[in-house]
């Protein structure tokens, strides 16, 4: 048992280590303190490698294409950002670039770095920095919102053009699934515990 505090209501708690299949909630405000996952570190490592591979086709191959009066046109993640930028909407272009390309990539890289170091027990002075950035960047990577945007755009276009799905879209959907599994597998409480232990043994 260890002393801990709830991040949302500051209740002082005696923490038991939750086991896989259990959920630890704060008794006062109901905050989800921990949801342990099976082999959290190993799965995070495997999923982040899978994500890293999928990021390339998802970013480079066309997601959707349209055909109007014989003219066809493909769109990739990057072409949207580029068109917005060239139309002078640079602020929106930067935001879209960050939330659909940069932060998802960073998220996967940071998960990879952290889980690699924890799995192979390699201490690093950057471990806590990576883990902290990972926690802060998580909500700014918006792949699943982008997917919903694709669906709405396709519905809007369906009346005026023929919509075709590209290979990139399949990679993109796979990436969203991998990303979701990554988020639900990463047990922050366990990760911080292991970082603490690893750095402690390294000091001795």
């Amino acid at each position: 048992m260890a002393l801990a505090a709830c991040p949302e209501c500051d209740l002082l708690l005696n923490r038991h280590q939750a086991v896989v299949g259990e959920k630890a909630h704060c008794p006062r405000c109901g905050y989800l303190l921990q949801r342990p996952a099976k082999q959290s570190v190993e799965r995070t490592l495997a999923l982040s490698i899978a994500g890293l591979i999928l990021i390339f086709p998802a970013n480079l191959l066309p997601l959707v294409g349209i055909k109007i009066l014989g003219n066809s046109h493909d769109g990739t993640l990057w072409s949207g950002v580029f068109t917005l930028f060239s139309e002078g909407m640079w602020a929106v272009a930067i935001l879209v670039f960050l939330s659909s390309m940069c932060f998802p990539m960073l998220n996967i890289l940071l998960s990879l770095f952290v889980s690699f170091h924890l799995h192979f027990k390699k201490p690093s002075k950057y471990l806590s920095v990576w883990l902290r950035w990972l926690q802060h960047l998580e909500e700014w990577a918006m792949l699943e919102v982008y997917m919903l945007g694709i669906i709405v755009a396709c519905v809007k276009l369906a009346s005026m053009a023929e919509v075709q799905f590209g290979l990139g879209l399949y990679a993109f959907i796979a990436l969203i699934i991998i990303n979701g599994m990554l988020t639900s597998n990463l047990d922050g409480y366990l990760f911080w515990q292991q970082v603490r232990q690893l750095n402690k043994t390294h000091e001795n």
Partner: protein
């Protein structure tokens, strides 16, 4: 009575990043080296500033056109509300509802919810702390889904780019709307929900 249960009342502060408890006068976390604060610094002021900016930008976001659709030479500017009506007109009611929730309801609920949270903490209203913590959690969770409209426009702009035949151009409201989304997301992260529980008149 209940505030006695808080970690701060026992002279302990929780690290925002790794959750380690430290004595009150510690400046940086012994585990991850983050700066320690009992509560997020200037939480109310920062959140209030971001929420007010959000309100200010909400007007241009809804009054100006968010995109202009040109078909065979004739251009037609759309506001956010106009886009929803266009979807209803083409019998896409479920999608219209989705856009209504993501682009109109979510930003309004976020701004009003955060305003009520700020007022209740500042004026020490006797509120149900548990209920308002859940409201805060919902506000923090739904924020990113408002980006739906921005992503949809990004896709339309890059796909429907066929010169005189058909073209979609992003309008000035896109920048304003994107700013509202980002400002309210920052507002939600800068609000410290533990302040709800610090209110001596609140109950649970």
């Amino acid at each position: 009575m209940k505030t006695k249960a808080g970690a701060l009342n026992q002279g302990l502060i929780r690290c925002h990043d790794c959750g380690t408890l430290s004595q009150l006068n510690t400046h940086s976390c012994p585990v991850c080296a983050s700066h320690l604060h009992a509560r997020l610094p200037h939480s109310l002021q920062r959140t209030a500033a971001l929420v007010i900016s959000g309100y200010a930008l909400y007007l241009p976001a809804n009054l100006f056109p968010i995109m202009t659709v040109t078909r065979l030479g004739t251009g037609e500017p759309h506001t956010i509300v106009g886009g929803i009506f266009a979807l209803i007109d083409s019998d896409m009611v479920p999608v219209a509802l989705l856009v209504l929730v993501a682009s109109i309801l979510v930003p309004v609920i976020k701004l009003l919810g955060l305003t009520l949270l700020l007022l209740s903490v500042h004026f020490r209203w006797p509120i149900n702390a548990r209920f308002w913590t859940i409201i805060y959690r919902i506000i923090a969770f739904v924020g990113r889904w408002s980006m739906l409209d921005i992503f949809m426009i990004t896709i339309l702009v890059s796909l429907v780019n066929l010169g005189g035949v058909a073209q979609v151009i992003a309008g000035p409201a896109a920048t304003a709307f994107a700013s509202v989304v980002v400002l309210t997301m920052f507002a939600a992260t800068s609000f410290d929900p533990r302040l709800i529980w610090d209110n001596p008149n609140a109950y649970d």
